[in-house]
């Protein structure tokens, strides 16, 4: 049976179902991305604090970095829900599982990014009489985010791919909807090829989005969107220059 003999038209016929699967994966992973960025930052700061706070962060990071996504989601959906007596929806269980795991990875990304900000910048902020919290949020963090961005992009691609394991709890993401279609059409090669292509395309789009964000964070900013956003700031400064320089 040759490549052309497969019923590739099946992909187009079912594209809405497949895209719905992608949309579910995107929703779960975007929410988990936001939570794990916040969680990761918190853990990174905790890790740089004094014991025992740093110990809590180190323990968390080392435990959750080692748990596979598949085990994590089963643990949350069947284990934690029983323990707490809460019935998570599959969507909620997916978000929680992904957030728990990726907070640990994000913590390491932010730790190295925070470490990469030259210590002199913190000192300069302190010497100027700024409060530590203000130095962190206005001086250190913006620089750390810029340093972390390429790694955050790669991490997010990993998160989207890990949603595929949530098929085990019945979340209607890409793999689950593909399985459903296969059971109706008996065309695993065609449909899983489509599923693989969807992940590859998603990774490609995520890469582009993160590159745009990186451009906006570059100094001076790169890219058309950043230039447009910056033009207002530039006009304001030019106005000030004219006013004061007179």
């Amino acid at each position: 049976m040759g490549f052309a003999d497969y019923d590739w038209g099946l992909i187009w016929d079912n594209h809405q179902i497949l895209l719905d699967g992608l949309l579910t994966a995107a929703k779960v992973s975007v929410i988990a991305l936001v939570i794990s960025i916040a969680g990761g930052l918190l853990l990174a700061v905790m890790r740089q604090s004094k014991p025992p706070i740093s110990w809590i962060a180190i323990a968390y990071i080392n435990v959750f970095r080692g748990v596979p996504a598949l085990v994590s989601v089963i643990w949350v959906y069947f284990g934690i829900s029983l323990l707490l007596g809460v019935n998570f929806t599959v969507f909620q269980a997916g978000v929680i599982a992904l957030s728990l795991l990726y907070s640990a990875f994000m913590a390491e990304i932010f730790r190295s990014a925070l470490d990469a900000v030259p210590p002199g910048h913190r000192e300069a902020g302190q010497a100027l009489g700024m409060r530590s919290s203000r130095v962190f949020f206005s001086v250190i963090l913006p620089q750390a985010i810029k340093i972390a961005l390429p790694n955050l992009g790669s991490m997010y691609i990993g998160m989207v791919k890990d949603t595929s394991t949530f098929t085990v709890i019945g979340l209607l993401e890409v793999v689950r909807v593909t399985q459903n279609l296969v059971s109706q059409t008996f065309q695993p090669f065609v449909l899983y090829t489509a599923a693989a292509a969807i992940y590859v395309l998603a990774a490609f789009v995520i890469d582009i989005v993160f590159r745009l964000v990186e451009g906006a964070y570059a100094r001076p900013p790169r890219g058309a969107v950043s230039q447009v956003l910056r033009s207002r700031q530039r006009r304001r400064i030019e106005q000030l220059m004219a006013e004061v320089g007179r």
Binding site: P118, A124, L128, V244
Partner: protein, 268 residues
């Protein structure tokens, strides 16, 4: 000023002791582990005075400067700035009531060897951020004051530039404007020209001369002895964590300690 050897300008020292010092340091010591880098420093800086600290690498001159705004925490000694005690106290004496670090740092401005501009902000916002943070100014007001500060150091046309778009000399001048905009009572300069290409040193020294002419109290750690000679009301030579010798104008020609003479000769 207490020194291991007699000061070279006794009459000027007598004048200085009658004035009220902005900075008064007594018995300042600092250790990093078992290494004692400051071994009992005494220093008085009076209002409007320009103090130059020089000496070989590792002599502790930068540590003295960084102790004045508590970027380094002294191991012991007294540090009084604008009449408020900030030091841990002298051994054998009860711990003093100490002022708040933020208050100290808002009294003393500092310029670093590596400029330390915030790379994610324009020159204008580098100056404006501390104004907003420390003085609680609104954005528009802070930016207006920042533009004026940049104008004074001749960098208003570079206000919209980011640090990476500025030369080292320009970055250091922005750093000076940033510290000055906060209206400090004292300015500390930690080897402000050491990281610069030789051709860029002049513009920074020129800016520092302008600052000196305004009557700002300055403590400068530098190897630029020509500059030191021009502005130094009090010149302090340090080695191995102690003040070897100090003196007022004419120090570079009249100093008596062989080590200071040797150093001055070598640097020239």
């Amino acid at each position: 000023m207490s020194t291991r050897q007699p000061s070279t300008a006794e009459e000027s020292t007598a004048d200085r002791t009658t004035a009220d010092p902005v900075i008064r340091i007594r018995g300042l010591r600092k250790s990093f582990g078992s290494l004692e880098v400051l071994r009992g420093i005494d220093l008085d800086v009076t209002r409007g005075e320009h103090v130059v600290i020089f000496g070989p690498s590792g002599s502790g001159k930068s540590t003295v400067l960084r102790s004045i705004n508590l970027l380094e925490q002294p191991s012991s000694g007294s540090l009084k700035v604008a009449g408020v005690e900030y030091g841990p106290g002298l051994p054998g004496e009860p711990s003093p009531q100490r002022g708040k670090v933020l208050q100290l740092r808002r009294t003393v401005g500092m310029v670093f060897q590596q400029f330390n501009l915030f790379p994610h902000l324009t020159a204008l916002d580098n100056v404006a951020l501390p104004l907003r943070s420390v003085h609680g100014m609104k954005k528009a007001e802070a930016q207006h004051k920042s533009a004026e500060a940049l104008h004074r150091v001749g960098l208003l046309p570079r206000a919209a530039h980011y640090p990476t778009q500025l030369s080292g000399g320009q970055q250091q001048r922005v750093a000076i404007a940033r510290a000055l905009a906060l209206d400090p009572q004292v300015m500390l300069f930690d080897e402000p020209t050491s990281a610069l290409d030789p051709e860029l040193v002049g513009e920074v020294l020129k800016t520092m001369r302008l600052v000196a002419e305004t009557g700002m109290t300055m403590v400068v750690v530098t190897h630029e002895l020509g500059f030191a000679k021009d502005i130094g009301d009090l010149n302090v030579f340090m080695e191995d964590g102690v003040v070897v010798e100090s003196g007022s104008r004419g120090f570079f020609e009249n100093c008596v300690s062989p080590r200071a003479r040797e150093f001055i000769k070598a640097v020239r």
